[in-house]
């Protein structure tokens, strides 16, 4: 039985400063509408433009989205930031309306776009449970019935009559999620709730979501956490630039997603006059290639990464080293390696270097590569900053915990439990 049927949904947003000079535009639009003409500020010819961006300052966040979800299904929605996931969720949860198209729903919808919406800091935990429950669509009776269960789930029994402004952020989130988790909607929309709370709590949440699906209700789950999607969902869709590019089994869709990711950023090539550098050296190209047994172009924790650098040297008989820095997205340097010692002497012209980062060394996350050319192991001739950006994806055996491992590295260190 179909629970949700989405038919040709489009969503248009206006970019930039909304409100400036909009009165004239509004009047103009209204006048066109009154006469039954096409809205002059809405350009439909730009549909096929991948960037979906036209000169009038409008953007199509969603373009012709159609899908349906059945009873008891857990649908995963994945895609890069800005692919349209949030817009889709907002439309499904009625926070905003589509520009075109229609959605048909069968059953009560509850969304967990952000837990704790409507919590009032001055009210006690008890009062907030009722208020938040009602905001999420429960009646007072339903909340009263489930009150004890909610409190037990949250684990804040002791502080239930304390204003929530005195809660730690962890308690706050747990209470908020507990309320949301005890909704009994036919359709539940979940967005990244797993990013909050400790491991124990995450486990509880995942369990609750599985439960919901088992009871024949429908879940739409949006996440960046591929492991969680793989584990929880029965089907997945991949959004890219506002359209559905892949739909099917979660593992297949995730693979499509990983393969499409960041590929453009994995290599750069410059012509000599526009290349970064100075009078001593210029960068010709830098290229990152994942090496895997299965041959798939995926950068994951199980991929060996090969970085190839080509550069022009303009210094005669240079005693040369390359010094490569790898930075985490937050800016910390993860490691610094240099080419062989004692350094070789190189002549004027094009030179090549190769660096291999073994698999099972880097943890998941975004990393930057910078490198410099060094003369006589002391004098940097030029620092090529952030010439490469890549993201290492998760790939692991099934664990019941779906969080991110802490740390920048995740080396394969021998560690065994004797059993």
């Amino acid at each position: 039985m179909e629970r949700i049927k989405v038919e040709h949904i489009y969503k248009q947003y206006r970019l930039g400063q909304v409100g400036t000079g909009s009165l004239i535009q509004d009047v103009n639009r209204w006048w066109h509408k009154v006469r039954g003409k096409e809205d002059p500020t809405m350009k439909i010819t730009e549909f096929n433009d991948p960037v979906a961006h036209d000169s009038s300052g409008f953007i199509w966040a969603l373009k012709d989205i159609s899908f349906s979800v059945n009873h008891g299904e857990v649908l995963g929605v994945i895609g890069r930031n800005g692919a349209g996931k949030s817009s889709l969720l907002k439309i499904l949860s009625k926070v905003t309306s589509p520009t075109k198209g229609q959605i048909m729903l069968n059953g009560r919808v509850a969304s967990l776009l952000e837990v704790g919406t409507g919590f009032h800091p001055e009210l006690t935990g008890r009062e907030n449970i009722f208020l938040n429950g009602a905001i999420l669509g429960m009646t007072k009776r339903e909340i009263t019935q489930k009150f004890d269960e909610i409190v037990a789930f949250s684990g804040v029994e002791k502080y239930i009559d304390t204003p929530v402004k005195r809660y730690s952020s962890g308690m706050y989130v747990r209470l908020a999620f507990a309320v949301a988790a005890h909704l009994e909607p036919e359709i539940l929309i979940v967005d990244e709730v797993l990013a909050v709370g400790d491991v124990d709590f995450q486990k509880k949440c995942m369990g609750k979501m599985k439960d919901v699906a088992r009871h024949g209700r429908t879940v739409i789950f949006v996440s960046h956490n591929m492991e969680a999607v793989k584990n929880l969902c029965t089907r997945a869709i991949l959004l890219e630039h506002g359209t559905i590019v892949s739909e099917g089994l979660p593992s297949d869709v995730i693979e499509t997603y990983l393969m499409s990711r960041n590929q453009l950023d994995w290599g750069k090539e410059y012509s000599e006059h526009e290349a970064p550098g100075n009078a001593y050296t210029r960068l010709k190209s830098i290229e990152l290639t994942p090496i895997r047994e299965d041959g798939k172009p995926i950068i994951s924790v199980k991929s060996t990464l090969e970085i190839k650098i080509s550069f022009w040297n303009y210094v005669e008989d240079l005693v040369a080293n390359l010094s490569l820095h790898l930075y985490a997205a937050t800016g910390e340097c993860v490691f610094n390696v240099i080419t062989q010692l004692p350094p070789p002497t190189i002549g004027i012209g094009l030179h090549h270097a190769r660096c291999v980062i073994p698999k099972e060394l880097l943890n998941t996350g975004v990393f930057y590569v910078s490198f410099m050319l060094v003369q006589d192991t002391a004098k940097p001739l030029f620092n090529f900053e952030e010439v490469l950006i890549f993201e290492v994806e998760e790939e692991r055996e099934i664990t019941n915990w779906h969080g991110k491992f802490p740390g920048f590295v995740r080396p394969n260190i021998d560690f065994k439990l004797q059993a």
């Binding site: 909304v18 926070v95 905003t96 309306s97 069968n106 001055e122 009210l123 009722f130 905001i135 669509g137």
Partner: protein, 282 residues
């Protein structure tokens, strides 16, 4: 495969005049919880707590008594000045409270509205109800003051039979505030300047409403302005009902009623239109 029948359809358009009253009724618990939240949150960590509901108009009435009664010597139709000001202020307080708070519905709740759906009308409705509670408490004080002054022999108040119409007056007052409030609320999502204008406008409106002076005190242009003001009929008729002064003005009452009906209709129409997409512009 059998065709599924869907219970709900989300489309870009809004049918022209759908009040969605049934949906609002389903969320009645939420409305009452909003009312409770307003009360609890407003006076938590204050020493006098809900006593402020009463103290505010009492202090204002005393201030008016000193400034307008004693210094400016504006007549009060023979009613004790305190009763005159206080009775007017309870009504005005209710109206301006509903009006200004409702006008902040969208902008003030943007964070909440952006994350979860519930009928947006629940917020202004809760404002109307919590305002009514406040007005009721203040009315008790008014009654106490009337009885007190009667017992002391300072003032003998004659209540008129039109007192039974007071609920109607309050009803009109509340919905006038609601209609104008939600209309402004919808407009401020696009044109933010309006919220500044509103603060000033409400202040000005108070002096253009017979609260510190009776209608009979005015003449010429001022009289014209007051006759256009939909609040005038309500205030004059209210004082007639409570103190039996002035006259029962049926025309003024009808004018207020029709004005309210129009303001409410326009307000609701615009509110429901804006409700669907305002998240994209805030």
């Amino acid at each position: 495969m059998e065709k599924t029948k869907f219970r709900e359809v989300i489309t870009p358009q809004q049918s022209f005049f759908d009040l969605k009253l049934k949906e609002l009724w389903n969320y009645r618990d939420l409305i009452m919880l909003f009312v409770k939240r307003d009360f609890v949150a407003q006076y938590k960590q204050t020493l006098l707590g809900p006593l402020w509901f009463v103290l505010q108009p009492i202090l204002t009435a005393i201030m008016f008594y000193l400034i307008f009664g004693r210094i400016a010597s504006i007549p009060t139709q023979g009613i004790h000045p305190f009763l005159f000001y206080f009775s007017g202020l309870t009504l005005w307080g209710y109206f301006s409270d509903v009006f200004t708070k409702c006008s902040n519905t969208f902008v003030g709740n943007a964070a909440l509205f952006g994350k979860v759906y519930f009928p947006r009308m629940a917020v202004p409705m809760s404002i109307v109800i919590s305002g009514l509670y406040k007005w009721w408490i203040q009315s008790m004080v008014l009654i106490a003051a009337i009885i007190g002054l009667y017992v002391l022999g300072v003032e003998r108040t004659n209540v008129h039979w039109t007192l039974v119409l007071v609920p109607v007056y309050i009803f009109i007052l509340a919905f006038l505030g609601l209609g104008l409030g939600i209309l402004f609320s919808s407009l401020t999502t696009k044109y933010r300047d309006l919220s500044f204008l509103l603060t000033f406008g409400v202040q000005l409106l108070m002096y253009g409403t017979p609260i510190i002076y009776p209608l009979s005190f005015t003449s010429g242009l001022m009289r014209k302005v007051l006759e256009w003001n939909p609040l005038t009929g309500i205030l004059e008729n209210f004082r007639y009902a409570v103190f039996s002064v002035g006259s029962f003005d049926f025309g003024g009452l009808m004018y207020s009623f029709v004005f309210t009906l129009i303001a409410l209709t326009v307000g609701i129409l615009v509110f429901y239109r804006v409700e669907k997409s305002f998240m994209d512009t805030v």
